[in-house]
């Protein structure tokens, strides 16, 4: 530690820390544009010039390390004069079009100009004019306003991992642009809107719709992935106008994924459900709440009376609030059925009783940055959990070995130490385990001896094992594709053993926004709230499909789109006599299958709590009133409970539900999970294997309807992808389209050669309109030439 003096005040600081950081911590404000605490130092704007005694000229505080005895003046005449001069230069080419600029009112340049600018410009020559690149559906550009701080360029390079924006040209001709006109496709691209200190990069969906001073800020938690990003929802006159990040260093830092930032654009989608509806003789009729709820309650009761409570099932969305998950399972169990599930993107539940209290990351989100080795199995973390990938990217920049074991070599936008792309994740993982066992010279873990005996690990498998073993901090993660695997339980067992043997942590990158909350609230067939074993046996969602249940209560889902096995979901819905859907949106698919539609408030319009992957329980209070007759789901479920004469449905507020749950949950990490063993019996089926998981902008009903997101490159998914060798084997070399058949359903789609897909694998994501009715992933499919 050294002692320096800033503006006459002695300040203790770490030797070598930058002056601007030290001043920030001491509460002394130095003006700046290009400096950002999460980005590398550019020192290009020169706004932070300060006077340092004994230095011959003013120094940029962002790039000046502190030294013992330094005497700094940030407000001396010399410092102020330097800052004012820089401001004068910055304003030379700035258009001063604040009245029509979206940044007006929250613009760093505007604020600084008030403090450091002159009333009148001495510059009377022509201003520079630059073109506005089209960056796609999310970011609007007015590059004349740009002051070349390069924050957006550095964000791309350092945090998003893809340098999409750059600063070509020199001096007067330098401008921020993409390389030859193309859109910015990063899943984190919206963050450059916040980073831009001027109005050069602004939000396209928000453009010209409101002024910052007209907005009131509300807090919300994103339910689109298991990060639980904190969001500031800006509201004007009861309408959500935009979403920006709410800084929370342990969760999302200062960032948001585009999915969290722009999903609000779906709130007023034409398919938004705002009135209760019932189906009369095959025709939908709008009705009032009393009629709809009575109809729903009667229908459910009727099923119970005629077929027994066990022919009733409930499916919930991953992103429903914990309170909703809790009430839904209470309602079902109250009716006498434990058939309640939210794990609609999984198909192997053999180890469910041995699972911990919830699918956990196994560590704090912020700890991901400290890892030295990471084995990622099955899943595109970059698109599935963008902000977790961002943390890993930081670790990778510091030298962490990131290893990818997958059936598709997704570009994770970070350097990979090892990569293994194979169709059979299962035996590949066993290979790594074998390598680990051999390296340690230990006996095979219990129950795995037979599976490992005959294996001869490959070089890559050995390298992965060594890296895990050598790293002081290592983790093994199972992603969304691994969770959707038909032998996911076996993969979990191997991953746990890998972690145990190598001293690494085991983590699950859970699907959806609140899977942890759903587990804890008992929205699973085998456990009640607080991870207590269920008193009555219940069926998982695939067993329900199998059993052909007679009645369903759907919560926030569209079965054919949300379930990984769309074919099974379709069959189940067709077999049911009565389906009640609590939903915010109703597309054609849901309308064809439901009998009663109860309009639900979205998470923007309803209070609720969410548990993220690290077990952090966050509460939000809702931001705006729901449109029309839509109501918070907890109220709908409460009234349904009352109409069905169930006990304990007298809640008057969401807080009452919350405190009831709190008492049940106790310590969130109460159940660590046990070892679970199976014969490692899974073998890939013969023939071509279809891979599927939900792509980034198809994960829930709201995201699917967010038009700006649907206009991005990441939304272009309805394509069959296979590598050239696979295409050759199937006689499809050079074909532009093909017919995919799975379980009697077929679709014709464009065909794309993709080197990143493993041999013998065809990639067609689930959750697409085009993939409706197709079966589960890792099943054999047929591919035919139709050219």
């Amino acid at each position: 530690m050294v002692t320096i003096e800033i503006n006459g005040k002695p300040v203790q600081a770490e030797q070598g820390k930058m002056l601007i950081e030290v001043a920030d911590e001491a509460g002394i404000t130095i003006p700046r544009f290009c400096y950002h605490s999460k980005l590398s130092i550019a020192a290009s704007c020169r706004m932070c010039l300060v006077e340092v005694e004994k230095a011959p000229k003013p120094l940029p505080a962002c790039a000046t390390p502190v030294n013992d005895g330094m005497v700094v003046h940030t407000r001396s005449p010399r410092a102020i004069s330097a800052q004012r001069s820089v401001m004068e230069f910055l304003l030379i080419n700035h258009p001063l079009d604040c009245p029509i600029c979206d940044q007006g009112g929250e613009c760093t340049l505007q604020e600084m100009a008030l403090g450091y600018g002159k009333d009148i410009s001495r510059y009377s020559e022509a201003k520079r004019v630059v073109g506005n690149p089209d960056l796609g559906a999310l970011i609007a550009t007015d590059m004349n306003r740009c002051i070349h701080c390069t924050r957006c360029v550095r964000f791309g390079q350092e945090l998003a991992g893809v340098m999409e924006l750059g600063a070509p040209g020199r001096g007067e001709h330098m401008h921020i642009s993409t390389y030859m006109e193309h859109s910015v496709d990063s899943e984190l691209s919206g963050n450059v809107i916040d980073l831009c200190p001027v109005g050069a990069l602004t939000s396209k969906p928000f453009r010209y719709s409101a002024r910052p001073w007209e907005l009131t800020a509300h807090f919300a938690v994103s339910p689109h992935d298991c990060v639980g990003s904190n969001m500031r929802v800006d509201v004007r006159r009861g309408k959500v106008m935009r979403v920006v990040p709410e800084a929370n260093q342990i969760v999302n830092e200062e960032w948001l994924a585009d999915r969290d930032r722009f999903s609000y654009t779906a709130l007023n989608h034409p398919e938004r459900l705002t009135v209760p509806m019932i189906k009369q003789d095959g025709q939908w009729q709008e009705t009032d709440w009393d009629t709809a709820l009575t109809r729903a309650a009667e229908g459910l009761r009727d099923i119970v009376q005629r077929h027994g409570a066990e022919s009733l099932g409930a499916w919930a969305a991953y992103g429903a609030s914990t309170e909703e998950h809790y009430l839904l399972q209470r309602l079902m169990r109250g009716l006498g059925s434990a058939n309640v599930d939210h794990r609609l993107r999984q198909q192997d539940f053999r180890d469910q009783a041995a699972q911990p209290a919830y699918p956990s990351l196994g560590q704090a989100i912020a700890d991901l940055e400290q890892l030295d080795a990471v084995l990622l199995v099955g899943g595109n973390i970059r698109k599935d959990q963008p902000l977790l990938a961002q943390r890993l990217r930081k670790a990778a920049r510091q030298g962490a070995k990131i290893m990818q074991l997958d059936a598709v070599g997704h570009d994770l936008a970070m350097p990979l130490a090892e990569q293994s792309i194979v169709a059979d994740l299962h035996s590949e993982m066993l290979g790594v385990l074998k390598a680990l066992v051999s390296e340690k010279g230990e006996a095979a873990p219990q129950g795995l001896g037979e599976a490992l005996a005959a294996l001869e690990p490959s070089e890559t498998q050995r390298a992965m094992a060594s890296a895990l073993l050598a790293a002081p901090q290592a983790s093994v993660f199972l992603g969304n594709l691994a969770a959707a695997h038909p032998a996911a339980a076996e993969l979990r067992q191997i991953a746990r053993e890998l972690a145990k043997l190598s001293g690494a942590r085991f983590g699950q990158l859970a699907e959806g926004g609140n899977s942890a909350g759903a587990w804890l609230a008992g929205c699973i067939p085998h456990r009640e709230a607080g991870a207590k074993p269920s008193t009555q046996a219940g069926m998982d969602w695939l067993q329900m499909c199998e059993a052909g249940l007679k009645g369903y209560l759907l919560h926030g889902i569209e079965p054919e789109l949300d379930c990984i096995d769309s074919a099974a979901a379709r069959r189940a819905m067709n077999q049911a006599d009565f389906v009640v859907a609590i939903s915010s949106f109703a597309g054609e698919g849901l309308k064809a299958q439901a009998d009663v539609l109860l309009p639900q408030a979205t998470f923007f319009e309803s209070a609720g709590s969410y548990v993220n992957a690290e077990g952090h329980w966050q509460q939000a209070r809702g931001c705006v009133a729901a449109p029309g007759e839509a109501r918070p789901a907890w109220k709908i479920l409460r009234v349904l409970g009352n109409l069905l004469d169930l006990n304990g449905f007298e809640y008057t507020s969401v807080e009452a539900i919350h405190s009831e749950m709190q008492a049940l949950f106790g310590d969130v990490a109460m159940l660590a999970g046990e070892d679970w063993q199976a014969e490692q019996s899974w073998r890939p089926p013969e023939g071509l294997l279809r891979l599927a998981s939900h792509p980034i902008y198809r994960v829930d009903a709201m995201v699917r309807r967010a038009e700006p997101l649907q206009a991005t490159r990441d939304a272009e998914q309805a394509v069959l992808r296979a590598n050239p060798a696979t295409l050759d084997v199937n006689g499809l070399t050079g074909a532009t389209q093909a017919r995919l058949s799975q379980g009697g359903v077929s679709v014709v789609l464009p065909l794309c050669e993709d080197e990143t897909v493993a041999d013998g694998v065809l990639l067609l994501p689930s959750g697409l309109d085009e993939a409706c009715g197709l079966g589960a992933p890792f099943a054999a499919v047929q591919l035919e030439n139709v050219d």
Binding site: V162, E164, P168, R170, Y179
Partner: protein
């Protein structure tokens, strides 16, 4: 990025780039970007196509836009076709004091083009450049790797006549 791009760089160019890459630590291949862009430019009649910049970026494992930043920063890289002989005329202060405007007007008259233009037959391009460090013998211009100094109209004619 596909492997096709790399067939754009000739074998000789790649060998030449490798020589430069070898001068830097292996994880800092992109340090060779300036040399690599120059080599690519020489291979392609003195100018860089977008594909060539892509190919250089891929060869050095860097983002295409980062290579483009370099290519667009330095005036020695040409991003559109140039004539067979690029005449870089210094018009900076020393040359100006010693009559570079006469050099310019003589060249413009003789070739029938303005600064920044290329003759219709594609033989000559006139380019205005800043100081090339030959003030002692101003005025001057550069053609290919040669400096021509103490220029007079007669000398200029002789130089141009000697070019193919």
């Amino acid at each position: 990025m596909s492997m096709e791009n790399n067939t754009l760089l000739s074998e000789a160019s790649r060998a030449d780039i490798d020589r430069w890459v070898a001068k830097y630590p292996p994880e800092q291949k992109q340090s060779a970007v300036m040399a690599a862009l120059r080599i690519a430019q020489e291979q392609n009649d003195g100018w860089l196509t977008r594909e060539l910049i892509d190919a250089v970026a891929e060869y050095l494992e860097m983002e295409p836009i980062a290579a483009y930043e370099v290519a667009s920063f330095y005036s020695m890289y040409e991003l559109s076709p140039v004539g067979k002989h690029k005449i870089c005329i210094c018009t900076n202060i020393s040359c100006l004091l010693r009559g570079s405007d006469e050099v310019v007007s003589h060249l413009e008259d003789r070739l029938g083009i303005k600064l920044g233009e290329t003759t219709a037959d594609g033989r000559f391009t006139l380019k205005e450049v800043e100081c090339l460090g030959a003030c002692v013998n101003a005025p001057m211009f550069q053609i290919a790797r040669d400096y021509h100094e103490n220029l007079t109209p007669e000398k200029i004619d002789a130089i141009l006549d000697s070019l193919d």
